[in-house]
Symmetry: C2
Amino acid sequence: MSLVVQKYGGSSVADADALKRVARRVVETVRAGNQVVVTVSAMGDTTDDLIDLAQAITDSPDPREMDILLTAGERISMALLAMAILSEGVPAQAFTGPQAGVITTEHHGRARIIDVTPGRLTRALEEGKVAIVAGFQGLHPETQDVTTLGRGGSDTTAVALAAALKADACEIYTDVDGVFSADPRIVPSARKLDRVSYEEMLDLAASGAKILMPRCVEYARRFKVPIHVRSSFSGLEGTWVMDETKEGDEVEDPIIAGVAHDRSEAKITVIGVPDVPGSAARLFEAVAFADVNIDMIVQNVSATVTGVTDISFTLPTAQVPEARAAIAADAAAIGYAELTVDDTIGKISLIGAGMRSNAGVSAQFFSALRDAGVNIEMISTSDIRISVVTRSEKLDDAVRAVHTAFGLDTEDGEAVVYGGSGR
Amino acid sequence: MSLVVQKYGGSSVADADALKRVARRVVETVRAGNQVVVTVSAMGDTTDDLIDLAQAITDSPDPREMDILLTAGERISMALLAMAILSEGVPAQAFTGPQAGVITTEHHGRARIIDVTPGRLTRALEEGKVAIVAGFQGLHPETQDVTTLGRGGSDTTAVALAAALKADACEIYTDVDGVFSADPRIVPSARKLDRVSYEEMLDLAASGAKILMPRCVEYARRFKVPIHVRSSFSGLEGTWVMDETKEGDEVEDPIIAGVAHDRSEAKITVIGVPDVPGSAARLFEAVAFADVNIDMIVQNVSATVTGVTDISFTLPTAQVPEARAAIAADAAAIGYAELTVDDTIGKISLIGAGMRSNAGVSAQFFSALRDAGVNIEMISTSDIRISVVTRSEKLDDAVRAVHTAFGLDTEDGEAVVYGGSGR
């Protein structure tokens, strides 16, 4: 008998009919001889509706109270799912994050899971019940208050439960068939990956593939939890995210897993920074102190003025105001002439564990971009990834050109709706 | 410094504006030098919406899961109220029933409070915070599951917290100005009572006055919690429900507190029951076993057949199907000829602690009914109450006639919207 943790996102439980569909899938899994733990997000727009309510009360809701408010969403979906499973004749019980033993840090709205003590879940499973757990939430033990995990929290809940229960698999149900070699909305011939390593998935996620959040993949890698990303609609086998294949398999493996793209970043250029030790450090200290996530950095000697340099970096567009304010506040110490913001950039990334042992990947990547007339503005690399920044309007062309150049297109590729996994 | 527990029902927190209004009233109470604990119901239609969701999933929702679902309602309103109070610059913290230490029996959907351990509330008050508590819910300690208290649960939560915290008063905010000498929709000249004893309030509540549930008044009487029923809209002084006045005051007190009426009951008549020992007992055992609440009972010797008797009793109309089924299931043992149901009855009750020491109240009551042409079908009395059953269509006339006969009309009475206090 296997133990399976299943996670269903908000779109999979959008209304009563969707919940009944999920219940039938859970019941099928039980009838196939498995023990099942289900993690569930809030239904459809519930979370947005609750946020709107809070905004109608105040511009700056208290984080502790906001978490109390938002956790009502999963409370509703988990109770309804339990009722739906029970009405199919299968024993089931719903548990909040705190009841399920999900222990977190105290950071309301962005807590991190520090432990899982799943005693109640184990007991429910032993009694032959399906255990349903509210995703996205946990308990901070010192305050005894409920916390929420922030973006990607429900996926992380599922992986953390799978790790604590030593589950055989963690199935993440979403509205697409799995992880693809590129976004099928841009590359209709993109193919579903049967298997991808944790490392590759981490880089795909960090490079704009919205199917899983990096924190969830990181948790799975640490505890060796095999993740199965699959569709809650089609029932097809999806993509397994798990350890890299054994050495012997490697010849069979594709060099490249996929092409990711990201339009959510902007570029800030700080012009005329004195070219002396400490100036750049001061700049990035100011930005880091404002909790801004910097992605890529390029420093150029100024072409026109001597003794100064221009520094460009990319960051999430949403964080531009904070970064700008932080730099302005420290302007005297940094000593720059001007600051420009460019939010019409795009980033394309090529990811594959096979890059490590295959020279020439970069050359092939750059020549594909050149042939497609795509100009490169910034470059960053890791051992299994190459990313470049280009103009946003050139990004789709770039993704298609690179996907084709690396032989990733399928013959029978067809358009698939490719969306995020919500929270 | 006084400690005040305030309770706001669903209509007082129907939307964001209503919540802000409640927040301002709480803040006023704090600024007047009081410590405040607030109990809050779910917003407006939230509970009905959640019940509809459950009904869309299954006809018979699991009681445990139903309680998890319904408690999401207070979770939302309590968090929003905390935000609203915080945004007025007053420290506040929201607590679920379990967090507030409300310990209950295990009966999901109709749990009873067995203890309150308000350690977290006391700490919050000591820290100068307003403590907001979800009404209607608690924790069953053995299962560690949330429970709901059923109808009137939020009022009972408020009284139970007031008792446990030894509060100076428990203010129940509603949409009317207090407890009236009769329903102002029927008797426009009804007057607001300044003060009513626990006993009188219990009888008023049990006789159809919807302003407080009997269980809440019973709890207040047991722990001597003074209840102040008042309007969340007008801000006027309302009605105090508290111990009877001292002996010395009694001459000043009115003999009659008020006239209550009730259209929610039906009458079942079981015809041709053998007039032998045990037959009636068997009938009422069957009904009691079905958890039906019987109110009044009348037994008449049959006018036409000898050796048999007709038994009539009143019960909530909603419970007629259960009662009917229970009697039918035991028909052989009871041995009756026929069963009739009459759901066009009404009950009028006259309540007043002064009845004990004043003879002639009954006579005056019956003559007022006679003068109004109201026929009496059943009678029941206690030491502070007389109730009669009459035709439903005669009930309004009966209430007005009795109200006038006992000198309860005010000169300046004006129509007031008189509604229930929700849960």
